[in-house]
Symmetry: C2
Subunit: 137 residues, 2 copies
Amino acid sequence: MIKESEEDMAVVLIGHGSKMAYNKELLDGLQRLMELRGVFKDVRVAFMQLNSPSIEEVLRELAKSGIKKIVAVPVFLADGTHTTEDIPETLKIAFEGEWAELGRDVELIYGKPIGVDERIVDILLDRVKAAEAGNGE
Amino acid sequence: MIKESEEDMAVVLIGHGSKMAYNKELLDGLQRLMELRGVFKDVRVAFMQLNSPSIEEVLRELAKSGIKKIVAVPVFLADGTHTTEDIPETLKIAFEGEWAELGRDVELIYGKPIGVDERIVDILLDRVKAAEAGNGE
């Protein structure tokens, strides 16, 4: 159940980033759909590498905008060095140094990746059926 | 709607593979859930790299078992060089050379990755709520 407080919360969808357009298209598409749910005050996309905006840029923009609570979720299927080391380290340093003041009153929460879920199985079953249909069956 | 013919079909869930356990745990978990759906004659996991079994191993095992139709789906969130180049190349060569005979009567269909989907947004919303709960809210 969505709580009132979440109306004052921003969500940052963190993508891997890629030289190809696909990962950014995925994150932008998910961001639009989540924004349409109208649950959070702000829904942003940020990339670990290669694409823009960076995690640091987005966290600092949100802090400047006055958001006091940010939940950052890695849009990854499973944990790995990116979600357990690289991204947490970037989140930790985003408000350090000259930015310490900016982040002092911001509650930053880091979520878990997608993981094993029946809804992923539902999607994979759809992809299997679409692949068959694509072969004229 | 599931068709009768799919009862004679095998699905191969293709994972990225990783030195860490998370990716294999994800694929194994999704494989178990899909197997429980009871839709396909066989549901296997195969890895592009680092984990076992390999894509070649699984395709050849299935062909030897007499399966005539295999749908291989990349368990990736979005397309990239892995899904558009690396995996298709491996699928193409799996039955070449000494294996040409084995694969001659096997219909091999390659599916699309997960992509933008409302069900992914549902999962991400759950992860956001779980992250908040984890912070005692």
